[in-house]
């Protein structure tokens, strides 16, 4: 009989597994991907000091450490249902049911799909798909492509594709629509880039953020924005250009684009078709929280955390007995934050099993989450701290079982 089951072998799940196995719990991790590591596997960023954050190495390290402390990790297993039982949880997987007194859901995030006309043509994929194909599966997604959607993740991944010898012709915006919302409006995109500009890997953006503090300056920035855009690592980023349609017969052959006004409306007579053999669509990330929902967990809608998140306290407990959450499912942040949260969840599960002798470890781990958050190089939203506080208060108000 296991003490804890963890769904998801990403940085959060693996860190949690290590933390509770170290306290003597018997722990099992299941993950539907063919290898442990989650989205960490694809990550390749240059840190401000110039060193590379190599996600594959980090994932391998976590996987080894977990196995070394006795964690059982099963890959290629998908979980599709979670129901409470008198003694804990019954989890349905593609290889059978698993019973566990304590369950951690650490399923991460998924990408928001943006239905640009023509997006079902083979050769169109999400930006994260290209990241995994390039960095994990080591296959080029094409020769020359267009990235639709400008945000911190798509800019980082465009650079990763370029490192692998793939040409990014340009980065442009999606067509403005009710689905794309602000992601199709140059002014809004500019504003969101500026809010995270202090983290940007380019001095150009950093410089720009100094210049454009006030709203009217931002408006000016967008209206005077050079038609060719600015370049980062020689990749043109064109905030005044939108994709109208992805064209091709049996696969991607090009993108029909047009110049747009600062509020995202196409300018008549500026349409053209640019050739491309692949297209990446970047719509941002949102917590992949369906399993917590079917478990019956109360949710809150918190845009700064990426959408609907299961309500949980700072010990990563939900209001349902024996159900814990950690990582991107609780709000979209970087892998280092996910790891810190995983450690909290692992210690918290140990505590409620009566296996944690030193409660201070848990208190320190909770502190650690905030300090990792403060030092994060990639931040997906400027108001994460406020979003976290809101969820914490909701947990208190709903009196999540405090142990």
């Amino acid at each position: 009989m296991i003490d804890a089951l963890i769904i998801g072998a990403g940085p959060a799940g693996l860190s949690a597994a290590i933390a509770c196995a170290k306290q003597g719990l018997s722990v099992r991790v299941v993950d539907e991907f063919y290898r442990a590591g989650g989205r960490l596997l694809g990550q390749l960023h240059q840190e401000p000091d110039g060193t590379w954050w190599n996600g594959i190495d980090e994932a391998t390290r976590l996987d080894r450490e977990a196995r070394a402390v006795g964690v059982e990790i099963e890959c290629g297993v998908s979980v599709y249902n979670v129901v409470p039982s008198p003694t804990g949880w019954i989890v349905s997987t593609t290889t059978g049911e698993i019973e566990t007194p304590q369950l951690l859901i650490a399923t991460g995030a998924s990408e928001t799909a943006v239905p640009v006309p023509g997006w079902t043509l083979p050769g169109t994929m999400s930006i994260g798909a290209a990241q995994v194909m390039t960095n994990v599966q080591r296959v080029r997604v094409g020769e020359r492509g267009v990235v639709i959607g400008v945000n911190i993740l798509s800019v980082a991944i465009a650079r990763e594709l370029q490192l692998a010898g793939i040409k990014i012709d340009r980065m442009i915006l999606p067509p403005v629509s009710t689905v794309t919302g602000n992601a199709g409006v140059p002014e809004e995109v500019m504003r969101s880039l500026l809010r995270v500009a202090h983290l940007a890997p380019s001095p150009i953006i950093r410089w720009g953020s100094q210049l454009m503090k006030s709203t009217w300056m931002q408006r000016l920035g967008v209206s005077l924005y050079p038609p060719q855009g600015f370049s980062m690592w020689n990749i043109p980023i064109q905030l005044r250009t939108a994709a109208l349609e992805i064209v091709g017969t049996s696969q991607v052959e090009g993108v029909r684009i047009a110049r747009i006004t600062p509020d995202g409306q196409p300018v008549a007579g500026t349409e053209q078709i640019i050739p491309a053999d692949f297209v990446c669509i970047a719509g941002g990330l949102s917590p992949l929280a369906e399993l917590a929902a079917i478990a019956g967990c109360p949710f809150a809608y918190v845009p700064s955390l990426g959408g609907h998140v299961p309500i949980h306290n700072d010990q990563m407990q939900t209001s349902l007995p024996g159900l814990f959450v950690a990582g991107n499912i609780t709000g979209v942040e970087s892998a280092k934050v996910a790891m810190a949260q995983g450690t909290v969840a692992g210690l918290s599960m140990s505590y409620s099993r009566g296996a944690l002798s030193d409660r201070e470890l848990l208190e320190n781990a909770i502190q650690q989450v905030s300090s990792v958050r403060q030092r994060a190089t990639i931040q997906f939203h400027p108001d994460i701290v406020e979003g976290r506080a809101l969820v914490g208060n909701l947990a208190l108000a709903g009196s999540v079982n405090q142990s």
Binding site: E32, I56, P122, A129, T134, R138, V139, Q251
Partner: protein
Amino acid sequence: MSQRIVDHPVLGSLAARNQLRFTFNGTPYSAYEGETIAAALLASGVRTLRVHEEKGTPRGIYCNIGHCYECRVNVDGVPTVRACMTLVQDGMQVTAGTVLPTPLKKGGHSQ
């Protein structure tokens, strides 16, 4: 013409791996051990993994991490297998999803 990234400036070079053989719609392809069906096919220039069950329009991968089910194929007779999540095994027979009959469309008349 393989699209594999053998040498990478940051991630380093790939070690030699065992070569496997599999078929897609009856055509032989090769893969390396540890490659997904989607990656092995893309490396050989194959992007269409199925056609839309009703409209017949071509589809490939979209998310590459198991979320969208766009890449579903038949593997050794098992339908709805995600090509982006499934490693190639030697001798595997993969086929693309095809157009299926929709007898109940348009008020119950098949065309």
